[in-house]
Symmetry: D2
Subunit: 345 residues, 4 copies
C-alpha cells in the first residue's frame, strides 16, 4: 500500500479481523480439543446455523470462498454437468477454474443480465440454446450470488422465481453468499427469505470479508447431500485439523451479531459514497460496493490523490469498483466522497 | 431412417465406408501382428503423414474425432488453462465436455466471429477481456476448425495471422480437421499451407466422415509433445489393441487418394445444392455442408417430402444444415435441389 | 514379427478378425444409417445381450477393453471411492491409470490371492485394513476378471460369495470379461451363472480378443446406472460416430455363436500346450492362457527357436505367458508343444 | 474430551496455538493490507524460508497439510504418473485420495520398509516390479515423510541415497515435513541437511501441529516449478484472501524460534514416555510420537484410566500411538508414564 494512501477501497478482503472474532479465537485456545471437526465448537455449527436460518441445516466450515463455491457445486453436478451462472460471477472470473477442478470438468454457462442479476428469461434462453442430448453437457445447477458481483441484490421473489424455474428443469440451486450479510442488511429481511424459503439448496456463507479471519461455511438445506460434501472437503485439504479455530470464528460471527453490525456499517458507508458519485453510478448501491463509470482520466486523478480501488471489466475499461469494508475509517470515506464530488463538478 | 426417405443429409457420419478402406481392412487380416501400435501398418503412419504434409510429423491413430480433439488439447493446456475457440465449435457444443474431461478441467472460452470463423480482432478482444492473473485461468491454446462448423474455410493467410498472434501471446494452436479434406479440396492448396506452414502445432486429422470406418489421426508438427500424448491416449482407452485395422484405414485413405476423391465429390454436390438454394444461404459453401435459413414451415415441407437434415442453432431456430457425403446418391441430390428450387419460388 | 517365427503366442490381441465379424461389417456397409447409436444394429444390442444373458440388460458398445473397464468403474465409484481388485488385474497393471482418470481419482486397492483369484477372506482383510472414515477413500466397488489375468476362472459359487460379501459391505461389483467367452467355455455354464445370477452389477464384455476387430460391450444388469454411463462414454470419445460398424461386430459375435466356437478352439489349444508343459505349469489352464515357470535359459532357447511369448512378472522373472488365439495355426501349436516337451527332458 | 481425562495423547492436532503465533496474528491486525498474498507478511516468506534453509527458495502458505502434500505432488507428476511412497504414509492412509484428486489421477505405489522408512532396495524393487511402458503409469515422484508416520527419522545420508537413486531414475523428490521440526531437533542438524542438500525438490513444511493455528508452507528448492504451483493453489481454494494472517503465523514460527522450542519440548516428553514403556516399544522414539504394542486389554485399562490415544493399524490391532504435543501438560505425561510402568509390571 502506498505511503500516501488516502483510502483503501480495493476490496473487503483487505480489511482486518473484527475484535469479537479475534477474541473467539483466543477464547478457544485452552486445552486439548479433538481435531478435524470433532471439537465442541464445530459440533455447535449445525445448531447455530439452523437457528440463524430458522430451519434445520447442516453447516460445514472451510477457509476460502473459492473452496466453498467449488465444493458446493461439485456436490450438485456430475462431471458432465452444466452450471448456469451470470457472466460476471466470481466463479467465472476469479477462481482460476476451481469449479471445473472440483467437479471433474463441469462447464460454466455464463449468461448475461442487467446489473449482475440473472433473470428467468435469460435462464430460459440459456437452457433453450443448449438443448441437452448425449452430445452435450447436462444442465445440472443454477448458481447465483447474493449480493451479486456488481453490488446489487436479488429480492426474495426474484430468487424464488429463478429457483422455481431451475427446479422445474431439474437443476439444483446454489447461492454464493460471500456477501450475504450485506444483502440481508440491505433487504432488511430474514435470512430464510433469500435462501431456503426461496428455493436455495446449498449456500456458500461468507464471513471472511465481513470481519472473520478465514472462515466460510457451506450450508446444506437438503441434508442428504452433505455426506458427499464431507468427503470432498477432506479430499480437497479443506478439513482443517485444528478446526476449533475456524468454527469459533463462525460462531462469534453469527452469535454476537457481528455479521449484522459489520455489514450495516459497510453498507451505510457504501450508500454514502454512492450518493456522492451519483453522476457516475453504474448500478444501484445495494450492498457494500460502488461501481462507477469514471473514465481513465478521473481514475488516474483519484489514484494520484492516493485512493486505492480496482478497475473493473476488460483491459482499458472506464469502470471502477470501490468496496467499503466493515472497518473502513470514516476519514477515508469522507476523503473519497470529497474527491468524487470534486470529480463531478 | 424413414421408409420414404428422399435423401439423407443429416450428417456425413451416416455415410458408408468406402471400398478402398474396407479392402484395406480385409487385406490387413492375415496372420498374427503385434498389437497396440507395434504392427507394420502403424509403424508406417509417421512416414505416410510426413509425406502427406511435406514435413516430418508424428501421427497417432484414435477412433473418434472427440477423442482426437480432447486428447490433443490436453497435451497443450494445463488443467488451469483456457482454450480460445469459436462459439459454434464442435468442442463447445457437441462433445459433452470432453476437452474439460481430458484436460482435467480447462476452460473453453467461446468467441464470436462471422460464418464460424475466428478473427485476430475477436481473439484479441477475447484475450484482453480476461487479463490473466493468479485468479484466472491461463490462456493456453487456440483451437480452430478447418473447415469450420459452418462449412466455411480459413484461407492460409487467415490461419497464419491467427496462429502468429496466438503464438505471440504464448498460446499453442490446435486445428480440428474433422473435415480437413473438404477444406483442402475447396482451397486447392497443399496440406502444409493450412497446417504447419501456417503455424498449426497439433492437428486432429479426420478420415471417418470422408470414407473411413472409425479412424482419425492426431498429427504433431512439434514432435516433442508426442510422448505425453501417447500416455494420455492409452489412459483414455484410445490405444486400440488390434491397431493394424485402424492404421490400415488411415494408410488407404491417404495413399490411394481416397481423401481427395471423396472430398471432391462431396464438395461438388454441396456446391450444387448451395446454388439451388442461394436465396436461403447463410454461409458460402466452402466444403460439403450447406446452411440455409428456411424457416419452420419450409423445413416441415421438406421433411414431409422425405428429406432428412438437421436443425441448426437454438430450439425453434429457422436454420437447417444439409451435409453432403462422399457416397451421397446423385438422385438424392437431384431431388433435394428440385425441392429447394420449389421452395424458393 | 520375425521372419523365422515358429509361433506367435504373445497375445490374443495379435490375432486376426474372424470371417463372420468381417462379413458383418461388410453387410452393414449399405446406405446411410443414423450415427452415434441410432442405427438399426445398435438398437438391437439390448435385445441381443438380454437374450444372451437370459435377463433384461442394457448394453453399450465401446472400442477398447480399457475404456470398457474404466467407464464401468467410473459409474460405480465416486472420485473418493476405493476399488478392490486383484494385484495382477489388468486395471492395476496395464491401463496406464485409466480407472483413476475416468473416475476422477478413485483408488485401486490391490489384494493378493492365489492364481489370480480373489477370496472372501482376502477381501475381508483388505476392507478391514482400511476402516473408512472421513480421512480415507470410501469402499465403493469390487472388481474381478473372468477369466482372470492368470488364465484361471472363478466358479459361479466363488463369484456369488464374493459379490454377496461385497454387496453386504455396500460395494458394487464389476467384472472384467475381456475373456469371458473362454471362461464360459471352460466352465460349460450359462452366461447368467457367472454374471447377474452370481451378483455382478456391471460387466465389461470382451469380443476383440476372441475374433472381433474392435468391439467390447458394457453390460448393465442394473439399468438405472446406464444414463450416467452414456454421458461418460460420449465425453470419453467412445461413442463411435459410425456406430453400426461396431454394433454389427457384437451382433455377429453373439448371434452366430462365434464367441463359442472361437473360445472353444483357443481353450482346447491352451489345454494341449498346458499338458505338454505340465512340469512348468504355474496355474491350471482354465481358459486360453498358459503360464509357465521356465527360467531365463529355457525362455531364451524358445525365443532362439522362433517362438514369441511374453515375460510375466517383475523384470528378470522366470515366468512366461503363452496365449492361444482363436486363429492360432495348428502347426504353431504342434511346434510349441514339441519344443516344450524338449525343454522338459 | 472426557471429564475424567488424565491425558490427551491422540494427536498434536489437538494442541493449542502457541502464544507467539497468536500474538503475531493480533499484531498483523492493523489497517488494510493487500489480499491474496500481496501483503507485507507474505512478501517476506521467501526471505524467511531462504534464511531458514540457507539457500534461495520459494515458499507458499497453505492451510492444511493435506493441501500442502497434494498440491506439491501435483506439480511433480503428470496425471499418468506414479508416486512411490511408504505404505504407512499419510498420503496413502489419511488424505481421502487428495493426491489422486489434485494430480488428476496419479497412482500411489505403496512400498514396505521397516519402521516407516523407505530404503533404496525397496524403492529399486518397487520400480523394477513395474517396468514402465505405454501401458503403465510412469514413475514420476518419490515421496517420503520426515519424521515418518511411525515417529522415526531419516538420517541425512539416508535421504541423500534415496533422492540420488530417485533422481537417477528420473523421479522428483517430495518430503512431507508435517513434523519436520521434530526431526530436526532429534537429528540436531541443519535444516538444509535433510532437505535440499540431500536432494529434496519440494517440501511440505508443517507448522500447525507444532504450535501454529493453521499454517503450512510449500517450499520449492527448484523455483521453476513454482508458477504451476501458484495456479494450482488458487484453483484449489488454498490461496487465502486475508493472507497476512497465515503468513504472520509462519514468520513467527520461524523467526522467534518457536519451531525449535516447541519441537524440543515435545520430543523430550516423547522420549520420556518411550523410556517408561520400553517393553512395548515398536519403533525407536525419534520425534514426538510413541508407538507401543500393548494389546487390547492394556489399551482398555489405559482408556479406563482416562488416557486418550489412538489405535494404530488394522481393525483389532494390538498397537497404539501416543503423540506428545508442544503444550502437553507435565502432569499428563507423568500420569501416562506411571500408568505405562504399571502396565509393564
Amino acid at each position: 500500500m502506498s505511503q500516501t494512501t488516502q483510502g483503501s477501497f480495493y476490496s473487503d478482503n483487505t480489511a482486518t479481523v473484527c475484535p469479537e472474532v479475534l477474541a473467539a479465537i483466543s477464547d478457544a485456545n485452552h486445552g486439548h480439543s479433538a481435531a478435524y471437526g470433532d471439537d465442541a465448537w464445530t459440533r455447535r455449527l449445525n445448531d447455530a446455523f439452523s437457528k440463524f436460518f430458522g430451519t434445520e441445516v447442516r453447516a460445514f466450515a472451510v477457509v476460502s470462498g473459492t473452496a466453498a463455491n467449488a465444493l458446493s457445486l461439485a456436490t450438485l453436478t456430475p462431471p458432465y454437468g452444466a452450471i448456469f451462472t451470470h457472466e460476471e460471477a466470481h466463479i467465472v472470473r476469479d477462481e482460476c477454474g476451481a469449479p471445473e477442478f472440483f467437479s471433474g470438468g463441469a462447464k460454466l454457462v455464463a449468461l448475461g443480465g442487467e446489473h449482475g442479476k440473472l433473470t428467468v428469461e435469460g435462464l430460459t434462453r440459456g437452457l433453450d440454446a443448449n438443448p441437452p442430448s448425449v452430445h452435450t453437457v447436462q444442465p445440472a445447477a443454477l448458481h447465483l450470488a447474493q449480493s451479486t458481483e456488481l453490488g446489487t441484490t436479488y429480492r426474495p421473489h426474484e430468487i424464488a422465481a429463478l429457483a422455481d424455474f431451475a427446479h422445474g428443469r431439474g437443476l439444483k440451486v446454489h447461492m454464493d453468499g460471500a456477501r450475504l450479510a450485506n444483502a440481508l442488511v440491505y433487504l432488511d429481511c430474514d435470512p430464510a427469505d433469500v435462501t431456503w424459503r426461496a428455493g436455495i439448496d446449498v449456500l456458500s456463507f461468507g464471513a471472511t470479508k465481513n470481519g472473520a479471519l478465514a472462515a466460510e461455511a457451506v450450508v446444506f438445506f437438503q441434508p442428504e447431500l452433505a455426506r458427499d460434501f464431507e468427503l470432498r472437503r477432506k479430499r480437497a485439504g479443506q478439513l482443517i485439523s485444528k478446526s476449533r479455530y475456524i468454527s469459533a470464528q463462525l460462531l462469534a460471527y453469527l452469535e454476537s451479531q457481528v455479521w449484522l453490525r459489520n455489514a450495516s456499517r459497510a453498507n451505510r458507508l457504501a450508500e454514502r459514497v454512492g450518493r456522492c458519485a451519483s453522476h457516475f453510478l453504474l448500478h444501484t448501491v445495494e450492498a457494500n460496493e460502488v461501481f462507477l463509470r469514471l473514465g481513465a482520466e478521473r481514475k488516474q486523478r483519484l489514484r494520484d490523490s492516493g485512493f486505492e480501488f480496482c478497475d473493473w471489466g476488460a483491459a482499458g475499461s472506464d469502470e471502477a469498483r470501490f468496496v467499503l469494508s466493515w472497518d473502513q475509517p470514516d476519514h477515508e470515506v469522507q476523503a473519497l466522497c470529497d474527491a468524487l464530488v470534486g470529480l463531478s463538478s
